[in-house]
């Protein structure tokens, strides 16, 4: 372990001692659930450790709460997505057995796709899903949405480019 790593660990430790209790309270007020708050507080500090930033912070609580807030939104998204997935499974006539491991993977992938599609307009997103997930041809999509094939292709290019910009090599 390098000395930089040691000093990082040290400062995270300080941060933890000084603000962990406060952060738990902050999260509990917003989540209304003690366990969930404790989990997210833990995740917040893990994130701090992995970001390996300089931790000489002037506003440590503002920094921690901004990380916690983004984790809260993530966990909210995940929860909503998981519920939507389970309801979809429950609604299909042929029951499918999905192991917990497979389910985790599927939900992770859906989360990733869901995030990629954030920030796209409603129509662009719809065209992307019709083409990529439903596998419809551009002609068929144009017919369904009452727009020209060129318009469909324009939206498809926009959506793909958007996704490609977000994916890392």
């Amino acid at each position: 372990m390098s000395s930089a790593d040691l000093s990082l660990q040290h400062s995270v430790h300080r941060l933890y001692e000084d603000h962990h209790g406060w952060l738990c309270g902050w999260l509990r007020k917003r989540l209304g659930c003690v366990d969930h708050a404790a989990d997210l507080a833990q995740d917040t500090f893990i994130r701090v450790l992995t970001q390996r930033k300089n931790l000489e912070l002037r506003e440590p609580r503002a920094y921690l709460s901004s990380i916690a807030r983004s984790l809260m939104i993530d966990s909210f998204r995940r929860r909503v997505l998981e519920q939507a997935y389970l309801q979809t499974l429950a609604a299909i006539p042929e029951p499918v057995a999905v192991s917990p491991e497979t389910r985790e993977l599927i939900i992770e992938t859906l989360m990733a796709i869901d995030r990629l599609l954030d920030g796209l307009g409603e129509r662009t997103r719809e065209i992307f899903l019709l083409a990529q997930l439903d596998g419809l041809s551009y002609v068929e999509i144009g017919r369904r949405l009452q727009v020209s094939v060129n318009t469909v292709k324009k939206h498809a290019v926009r959506a793909l480019t958007h996704c490609l910009l977000l994916i890392e090599d």
Partner: protein, 317 residues
Amino acid sequence: MANPHPLDHATLEAAARWYVDLRDEASDAAVCAAHQRWLEHDPRHRQAWERLARLQDKIGQINPAIGRSTLTSARARRRDVLKVLSILLVAGGAGTLAWNTTALPTLMADQRTATGERRRVRLDDGTQLQLNTATAVDVRYSERLREVRLLRGEIQIETARDPHARPFIVHTAEGSIRALGTRFVVRSEAGRSEVSVQEHAVEVRMSNLSGPVVRVDAGQQLGFRQDSIETLQPANPQADAWTRDMLVADDWRLGDFIAQLQRYRSGHLGCDPAVAALRISGAFHLGNTDTVLDNLTSTLPVRIRRFSRYWVSVEPV
């Protein structure tokens, strides 16, 4: 591998355009050849194309029908919740996130309970209103009327004597129930309302105003839809057991029991058809439905399978 040339917007857009052109029905051998030349022209082109392939791989892992429905409904739920959150934030109101998402009108209701929650509310005139699990109501008291609109779920009303003698009316999507100095339970679900009367009487009128006004006396219950009224039945004596946090079954099918229990839980609670016809009797505490489920295994030949907190099923041993 570290990359000295990060891919720029133009290169990625070109890759996307090639993909769309190649996928187009009108594409032909000439397009393929031109694409090949584009790939060979610059290593970054190939790199962008590989990134596109990875995106396609990811999407290919998803079952189209399931993925599509999941993504669409997750988005719709999120939108509803975010709208409500922004209303709450603007109003400076309670900051707790509503994890159990429901439709927007419900969340804006005057009183509501989450799945598994029950609550007692005292209205201005002293009337007692109890909300069962996953319930939403609007309350409107005016000079002439006391009105409660049941948006979804189940309530019990115990009316107080009103000094101004204003009528007390519960509206559901299917019709309205006028209290005649009473205690009664109303439930509205899937296009059907049901009222069961514990004290005195109520009058029921369908929402399209056709048909008769039906009087329901203590000890009776009545189901009705927008355009039809069923016949009067003897009330289930345990229709209001939930107001005491109990679920009381008297020789019920296990399948029906599980369906009732599901109302108090988030996520999926299923019952295997092989055990759905087993019979069950008893009084069960709604405070902890997991305990209720676990206790089933000691009296019935069933086991509880838990895939997660949100996915539980009752199966044969």
